[in-house]
């Protein structure tokens, strides 16, 4: 396995760096098989998707290939792109993350994470956020940054191993030299804390949609 870089990300990007938000009309054009629209989307999303895949793979070529593969999948799915106001961007990011992890596992000859891989876009509508939910992301982003800093150190560490190394709970326990049960309960408690804090500040999820 490639050694970790020293300054690994510890949470979502800061508010100052604008993340991608809405792309009015772009997905409709991609659905109509407009390659220029896909390339425009690539130009806007690739720089930060590449940062994510590079962090995961530590290999420039694998990182680029994971992003490219994701956009090819999007193109293949284009005729089935949702037209009901769902945001496709989380699907792109989760797909690129999974492809990058697979590249990393292929290289190291091990798979230490578990199973979730986003399926075809057409099977993913049920869990895709709506565009309206996605547009309210900035508030959530800043809040998550603050909440992550409040997590106990061992929970934060376990979570970052999950996010960036793609480790499953057993592999995290091995890496940290902790009992599996402690890692499992720590991860669940950490996510519960994040969710609870978000809901307290942002209102219940139901109230947001």
């Amino acid at each position: 396995m490639t050694p970790r870089k020293q300054s690994r990300p510890s949470g979502p990007r800061s508010r100052q760096e604008k993340g991608p938000s809405a792309f009015p009309g772009t997905f409709a054009r991609i659905a109509a098989r407009d390659k220029t629209a896909l390339l425009e989307l690539y130009a806007r999303l690739a720089p930060w998707m590449l940062a994510m895949t590079l962090e995961i793979t530590s290999d420039r070529q694998d990182a680029a290939s994971a992003v490219e593969e994701t956009f090819v999948r999007l193109w293949l799915e284009a005729p089935r792109l949702p037209n009901k106001g769902f945001s496709v961007i989380p699907w792109l990011v989760l797909t690129a993350r999974r492809v990058a992890l697979q590249r990393r596992w292929d290289r190291s000859g091990t798979q230490k994470g578990s199973s979730f891989a986003p399926g075809p876009l057409s099977d993913s509508f049920a869990w895709l956020p709506t565009q309206a939910e996605f547009d309210r992301l900035e508030q959530r982003r800043e809040l998550l940054r603050r909440i992550l800093r409040q997590l106990p150190k061992h929970q934060h560490e376990a979570l970052m191993l999950a996010v960036w190394d793609g480790l499953g709970e057993e592999a995290i326990a091995q890496r940290l030299g902790e009992p599996l049960a402690r890692v499992q309960s720590g991860l669940r408690a950490g996510m519960r804390f994040i969710r609870h804090r978000m809901r307290v500040v942002l209102g219940t999820w139901s109230a947001l949609i």
Partner: protein, 75 residues
Amino acid sequence: MVCPYLEDLWELYLLGVLGAEDANTVSEHLATGCPRCMEQMREATLTVYLLAQTGRTVRPHPKSKASLLRRLRSH
């Protein structure tokens, strides 16, 4: 009722952290289309989406667009 048990698992499921048994419980329940859990899954999707951001950007290779275009032509 499996829903309360799953409440703590959505983000971990999306991150691929869960062991096989829990992951299967989640995917089997999702397949039922339970509206309450779908809502939580969408919330978790946003959280995981944010967690997977590095705070940096990396400029793609100048030839990356051409490479993507070649792949698109073959489909």
